[in-house]
Each structure stands twice: as structure tokens, then as C-alpha cells.
């Protein structure tokens, strides 16, 4: 059974929720209950007597380090998808706050669970800085296909054949073929892997061979006929039907179609969109309990930066749900419970030795990066890390590839600290220095992701190991050995240490998904 479980607001649902949350925050700022420190970045966690008691931040405008002390610390710092360099995340998204907590002893849970979103605009060149997501909602009406025959693929790639002119019987609507019950609406991981399979078979439809079609022609026909009928137009001619149908599509997806045309220069009403999967969301994150508290007392993690809600495979709209639920409905109650035990603890002073020590460590890291004065830019290292991650820890993974990736990342890390070039000074507005600190953390995070992916000898949601699949190419879980959360403890210059939290299913029965 399929049920409606979310809302849709002109392809900007998330943005509108964000504006609502921002306005609610602004109200609290006006009331004096919140002070907002714009353009400040957390660079370390301060712990006193085993509890999280504050943070060290860098004022990004002046470059000065500042200390903030509190009875507890809450991180709501987002996911780590930019470890892949190319993703649908905003450019500023990074793992630094969460990773600094890991370096202080917090556990990182299920880091290898990465969501690769099937409907993104394909990569256009080496200079590519990020990938643009076309909303999931498009799959409600769009049909995904590639040509059946490689000759047609060649003709389309070379521009000798327009996709819309290829006859129906020479197209492979592979999602509808493989998953007749769900068709184009299969979950993201399934749709993404299916796109990879056809492209690996040489059927990708753009020059790089890494794209499939998302076609609205049928939906335009269907809506056009229904509109004509509703308006009482008898024997409407084909052109009129298309016009009416396009109007309906425009009301539903107008802004998305416009965005697509701006980026690619192609009109998706007339010619099918090209899409390819891209990194979109990270289900893994800081390990937390039901109160959203990490294993470090007094350190809480909310939203994408924790691992809690999505298992191995997040469903559409669930990240919005988590952001709202964690922030509005969980943490206001659980933090109080934590603070109750601290009710007689006087306010924490930033003059405590722990603050001086951590601040010095942050200062040393910043200085070290600035003093390397090597020959390769931060961006170059980030791109190389992204390639390693995408090739070996992306849509499909193997033990061999992952083992190789681990060595490659370690080598890249040591090269980084010996050859990176970071311009400018510490005590000034310096976006390159900000990036340099983040990329250093992404490298260690990437290594932990690879360790997790290598240890999980099964395929499960966003984690697909080629060695573990059914004869039909579907993910093959190993519930007997892997029904647990893998929470990793970082050790400098050693392998990470695994802690297992068993998953007990009390109300529902553990089953294998089938969309056939």
C-alpha cells in the first residue's frame, strides 16, 4: 500500500520550512533568549571532567579564536556529503564540528551509509563545483529510460538523433521493466544503482556516458487529454493537447524545469531531461541515544549530523521531518533532563585551563596549515579525495577497492600536510584557510567511512557491496551477522575501533524490501 506522508510546496518545501525556522529563531533573538553569532565556525570541543563544556570557534571575519562555555553543547551542523567533493550539498557544508567531537571521543555511527540521489543534473566538466538536485517529485510524472541499442546511444550522444524522436520500442524504461509494482517511484538507492547499471553497460546518453533520460512526454499527453476533456474540448488536435498538458506540468514543476533550462540550456518540455545520481545525504553521523545525547555527556547532536533516524537508507522528506522533530520536539525536553543533574553547577568559566589548552591546539593546527606553503591548492586535494571516495566508496563498493582507498587516503593525508598551499593570514577574513581546516577533517572522515564500508560484509540501503547481491543484482543483507549499528571510535594513526549497538525489532518484523 502507498500512502501520502509529506507535503509539497512548489519544489521549495525545504526552503519554506527553513524560512519558517529562521523567522522563529529571529523572534527568539528579538526576545533576547538567543544570541546569534553569524560567521563563526566551531573548530573544537572543550571537555572538563569528561563532560562537554564549551567550544572554540573562529570568528570568520577577524580570524580571532573565541571561547564559549556552557553546561552542555548542542551540534546541529549537518552532514558530511561534501567528503565526495561533488554533491548536492551547499558548498559550505562540512564535517568539522562533528569530526572535532569524534577526535575528542564521540563515536561516529554507520559512516558508510551515504545516500546517492538519482535525479541530479549530470556533471558537465572538470571545473564542476557542485551538482544540482532536481526534486524527487519529478519522478511522479517523469519516466526514466535509455535506448536499448548502443547504435541509438551513439546517435544521441553525437547529436545525430534527438531523444524525443527515438521510437518507443527502441527504449528501455528499465525501472518499469525491473520493478513493475513501483516503476519510476522505487526508492532512491534502487533508482540510483539501476542508473549506474545501464551506464556501466555503455547505455549512458550524454558525452561522458553518465546520464539517463527523465521523460515527461507521456505525462504531458495524459494531462493534456484530461484537461481537454475537463474543458469540454472534443477532438482536440495533438498540438492543443500538448499545449494543455505542458500547462499542467508547468504549474506542478515550472520552477524546476526553469532551473534545468538555466543550467543546461535545454528545454525539458520538448526534449527529455538528462539526470544522473549524485551524493545527496549522509545517513551516518554522530552516535546518539534516544535523548539525542552522544556518548560524551552533555554533547547533543541534532539533524543530519547524527545517525539516528534513517537507518541505511533515508526516504524522501525524512530529513525535513528529522530537522523539525529533533529541534522542536525532542531536544527541548531531553536537554532539560540532562541539565537537571547540573542544577547546582555554577556557570562554566572560559578561564578554565581546558579552554586555554584546546584553544592552543586549534591555533597550532591553523598555523601548521598556513606554514606548509606547498604547491597544491586545498581544492585540488579535495577533488582528489572526492574521486577516491566516489570510485571506491560510492554507489557500489568492493573489499578490494575499499582496501585500496584506505591506503590512498592515508597517502593523500600525508601529502596534504606537506604540500598544501594556503594563502593569507590567520587573523583576517580568509575563506581558503576555512576550507583548508575542513578538508583536513574530511580526509580523516573519509578514511573512517571506508573502514566502515569494508567491515560491513553485506549490502544494505545506501551501502552496496558488489560481493553481496542476489542473482538479479539486488542488495543482499546479512541479518545474522550485521543487525547492529556500527559506532566507530577514532584513534590517531591506528585503525578505528568498532562498538556494536544491536538492533532489536520489537514492534515490526525485519523484512527484505521488494519493489517488483
Amino acid at each position: 500500500m502507498q500512502v501520502s506522508r509529506t507535503f509539497y510546496a512548489r519544489g521549495q518545501t525545504g526552503q519554506q520550512l527553513l524560512i519558517g525556522a529562521y523567522q522563529a529563531l529571529s523572534r527568539q533573538i528579538a526576545l533576547g533568549s538567543v544570541v546569534m553569532y553569524n560567521r563563526h565556525e566551531m573548530l573544537d570541543l572543550v571537555m572538563i571532567d569528561g563532560k562537554a563544556r564549551g567550544i572554540i570557534v573562529r570568528n570568520l571575519l577577524t580570524g580571532k579564536l573565541e571561547r564559549f562555555a556552557a553546561h552542555c553543547v548542542i551540534l546541529a551542523t549537518g552532514g558530511y556529503g561534501n567528503v565526495f567533493y561533488l554533491s548536492t550539498n551547499a558548498m559550505g557544508c562540512n564535517v568539522t564540528a562533528a569530526w572535532r567531537a569524534v577526535k575528542r571521543g564521540a563515536l561516529m555511527a554507520n559512516p558508510c551509509y551515504t545516500q546517492i540521489h538519482p535525479t541530479c543534473i549530470p556533471v558537465s566538466g572538470e571545473y564542476q563545483s557542485k551538482l544540482t538536485l532536481m526534486s524527487e517529485s519529478l519522478r511522479n510524472d517523469g519516466r526514466v529510460w535509455v535506448p536499448k541499442d548502443k547504435k541509438d546511444v551513439e546517435a544521441i550522444r553525437s547529436g545525430n538523433l534527438a531523444a524525443q524522436d527515438l521510437p518507443e520500442d527502441r527504449r528501455d524504461y528499465y525501472l518499469e521493466r525491473r520493478y513493475p509494482a513501483f516503476g519510476n517511484l522505487v526508492p532512491r538507492d534502487v533508482a540510483s544503482r539501476a542508473a549506474k547499471v545501464v551506464c556501466d553497460d555503455g547505455l549512458g546518453v550524454n558525452k561522458s556516458g553518465l546520464a539517463v533520460f527523465l521523460d515527461f512526454a507521456e505525462a504531458i499527453q495524459r494531462y493534456g487529454k484530461s484537461e481537454a476533456h475537463a474543458k469540454g474540448i472534443e477532438n482536440a488536435n495533438p498540438a492543443a493537447i500538448i499545449k494543455l498538458g505542458e500547462k499542467v506540468i508547468e504549474t506542478k514543476y515550472g520552477n524546476l524545469f526553469e532551473m534545468y533550462e538555466k543550467i543546461t540550456g535545454e528545454n525539458p518540455y520538448k526534449t527529455p531531461m538528462m539526470i544522473y545520481p549524485a551524493v545527496h545525504y549522509t545517513m551516518g553521523g554522530l552516535w546518539v541515544d534516544y535523548n539525542l545525547e552522544t556518548n560524551i555527556p552533555g554533547l547533543f547532536a541534532l539533524g543530519e549530523c547524527n545517525f539516528s533516524d534513517h537507518g541505511a537508507n533515508r526516504l524522501g522528506a525524512s530529513a525535513l521531518m528529522q530537522g523539525l522533530a529533533d529541534g522542536y520536539f525532542v531536544i527541548p525536553y531531553t536537554v532539560g533532563t540532562y541539565l537537571a543533574a547540573d542544577i547546582r553547577t555554577p556557570s562554566i568559566s572560559t578561564n578554565h585551563d581546558a579552554f586555554a589548552k584546546v584553544e592552543q591546539e586549534v591555533n597550532d593546527r591553523l598555523n601548521k596549515l598556513l606554514s606548509v606553503k606547498g604547491s597544491q591548492t586545498v581544492e585540488q586535494f579535495h577533488r582528489r579525495l572526492g574521486m577516491i571516495m566516489w570510485d571506491h566508496c560510492g554507489m557500489s563498493r568492493t573489499a578490494e577497492g575499499l582496501s585500496k582507498a584506505k591506503t590512498m587516503i592515508q597517502e593523500l593525508r600525508s601529502e596534504y600536510w606537506n604540500d598544501v598551499i594556503v594563502p593569507g593570514e590567520q587573523n583576517e577574513f580568509n575563506p581558503e584557510l576555512e576550507k583548508a581546516m575542513r578538508v583536513a577533517d574530511f580526509m580523516e572522515m573519509g578514511e573512517m567511512m571506508v573502514e566502515d564500508a569494508l567491515h560491513r560484509n553485506e549490502s544494505c540501503g545506501g551501502h552496496f557491496r558488489e560481493e553481496y547481491q542476489t542473482p538479479e543484482g539486488e542488495a543482499l543483507r546479512n541479518d545474522a551477522d550485521f543487525t547492529y549499528v556500527a559506532a566507530w571510535e577514532w584513534r590517531d594513526d591506528q585503525d578505528s575501533v568498532l562498538h556494536q549497538e544491536p538492533l532489536k525489532f520489537e514492534k515490526v518484523e525485519l523484512k527484505t524490501r521488494s519493489y517488483k
Binding site: 507535503f7 510546496a9 512548489r10 521549495q12 526552503q15 519554506q16 524560512i19 529562521y22 523567522q23 522563529a24 529571529s26 523572534r27 533573538i29 528579538a30 546569534m36 553569524n38 571575519l61 551547499a90 558548498m91 559550505g92 558537465s124 566538466g125 571545473y127 564542476q128 563545483s129 557542485k130 544540482t132 538536485l133 526553469e258 532551473m259 538555466k262 543550467i263 540550456g265 522542536y328 520536539f329 604547491s375 591548492t377 581544492e379 585540488q380 598551499i421 594563502p423 593569507g424 583576517e428 577574513f429 575563506p431 581558503e432
Partner: protein, 248 residues
């Protein structure tokens, strides 16, 4: 394509800026910001100071990016943010002038980066609904007529980038403020505080040093979200009504 970039360089808020020229080879498929990325990589490798510019989502929804390109905020393309502008809209051999938003209420931080926290303070003055989240009636339980909802939504599409201010000869923030006023005014939850909201937001807007509206409509022409100046008319009506009837 070979381009000459004439870019505003300014070390910090207090220093004087000036234009500097750069030569660059770009690809037509690049986005405008990717072209600046390529320039910055070159500058860093040559040991020079990269050009500071602001950006985040790079898909036209966060409002972080925004520079004046050949005299037009976000460039020549209608309804588009800087990050969505692609190089195929330029020609080989072009000289492109790139400047920050120019408004005294938006001081330059460095090069093309300006401080837009004045907008935050305007929102803090009343751009919200005074109900604690989690306690209000479910929004979906109050039916709203489709056209009214659409008007609210059109205004709510504002991303707060500040292009309206940069476009206006008076550096007025009327389009931004009116979009926020109008967004909340059209919805039943926002109507309750309409009078006090419009007064406080306009007062804060004036305090921040934004200019007044003289009906040039450049704001609407340059707005990447195509927010209509009808919102300004609505805000003016609400403002006059509340100044006549308010007890404050």
C-alpha cells in the same frame, strides 16, 4: 572563450577599493561562480590573493551569492541568481565588470563580500509570527483560498539576497521588507500582528540606513525570484493604515 575580468578588489571594510583586470580562459558550460573558482585557483598557485566572493548552495535558493555583473545585480539574465548564470551567456573576448552590492547599509567585508546582517535585524524587528512552534493549530487545518495562498507564496519565495537594494538608485530595501510583510499578511496566522509588524519592520529598515522608494522598479527587474512591486504597494497601504490607527 577568452575573457577579461574587471573585478573590484578591496582588502577590508575600512580600506579603499579599486578595479583590477584579470585574463581568463573559460568554458561555455561553466557557471559564473565556477569561472571565478578557476580564476582563484590560478591566483593561489601564483601566490596571489584570491578574490573573495560569497556563495553556498549554488542552486539559487540560499541567497548567499550575488555580485553586480556589468552593472546589473546577478547579471543580465532575468529571474536568475549569480550562481545559476552560465558562461554561455557571454561571448569570447568580452570584458566583464564584477562589483559587490553597493549600499551604505551593506558595508564591504572584502572584495565582493558584503555584510547583509541589516536584513537579519529587520526580520528580528517583526518578520515572524509570535507563536511558539509546536503549540499552534496545524496550518493545514485552516483552509486558505488558492489565489491568496499563491500571493503569500510568491512573496515567500524571497531569498533575502539583497539584489533589490543593489539595483535601486536609492539603495532602498522596500522590495525585501514588503515581500516579508506581504508573505505573512496574506496568511491567517500572520494577519493578527499585521499592524505592529509593518510599523516595526519599516522603522528598523529606516534605522539601518536604507533609502526610500521612488518607484524606479529596478528592484523587480533584477530580483532573481521575480518578486513583484505590488508588494511594496501593499506594504505602503498597511503602513499608512497602521500609522493612522495604531495606539503605539
Amino acid at each position: 572563450m577568452k575573457l577579461t575580468l574587471k573585478i573590484w578588489r578591496q582588502k577590508n571594510t575600512n580600506s579603499h577599493g579599486k578595479f583590477e583586470n584579470y585574463q581568463i580562459t573559460a568554458d561555455t558550460h561553466m557557471s559564473f561562480l565556477e569561472m571565478l573558482d578557476v580564476l582563484n585557483q590560478d591566483l593561489i598557485e601564483q601566490g596571489k590573493d584570491p578574490v573573495a566572493f560569497e556563495h553556498d548552495c549554488r542552486e539559487g535558493i540560499c541567497g548567499a551569492c550575488g555580485v553586480v555583473i556589468d552593472g546589473r545585480p546577478h547579471g543580465v539574465l532575468k529571474g536568475t541568481t549569480t550562481c545559476q548564470l552560465h558562461m554561455r551567456f557571454f561571448k569570447d573576448g568580452d570584458t566583464i565588470t564584477i562589483e559587490p552590492w553597493r549600499a551604505s547599509a551593506f558595508p564591504v567585508i572584502k572584495d565582493l563580500v558584503v555584510d547583509r546582517s541589516a536584513f537579519d535585524r529587520i526580520i528580528q524587528a517583526g518578520g515572524y509570527v509570535s507563536v511558539n512552534t509546536g503549540q499552534a493549530q496545524d496550518g493545514n487545518a485552516i483552509p486558505i483560498e488558492r489565489d491568496t495562498a499563491a500571493k503569500a507564496f510568491d512573496a515567500a519565495a524571497c531569498i533575502g539576497c539583497g539584489a533589490c537594494v543593489a539595483a535601486c538608485p536609492n539603495a532602498s530595501a522596500m522590495l525585501f521588507v514588503s515581500a516579508k510583510v506581504s508573505h505573512l499578511f496574506h496568511l491567517p496566522q500572520g494577519k493578527v500582528e499585521d499592524e505592529s509588524r509593518v510599523m516595526s519592520m519599516v522603522t528598523q529598515m529606516d534605522k539601518e540606513g536604507f533609502g526610500n522608494c521612488s518607484n524606479v522598479y529596478a528592484c523587480e527587474a533584477e530580483c532573481p525570484k521575480e518578486i513583484s512591486v505590488e508588494n511594496i504597494a501593499l506594504m505602503n497601504r498597511r503602513f499608512i493604515k497602521s500609522s493612522l490607527t495604531s495606539n503605539k
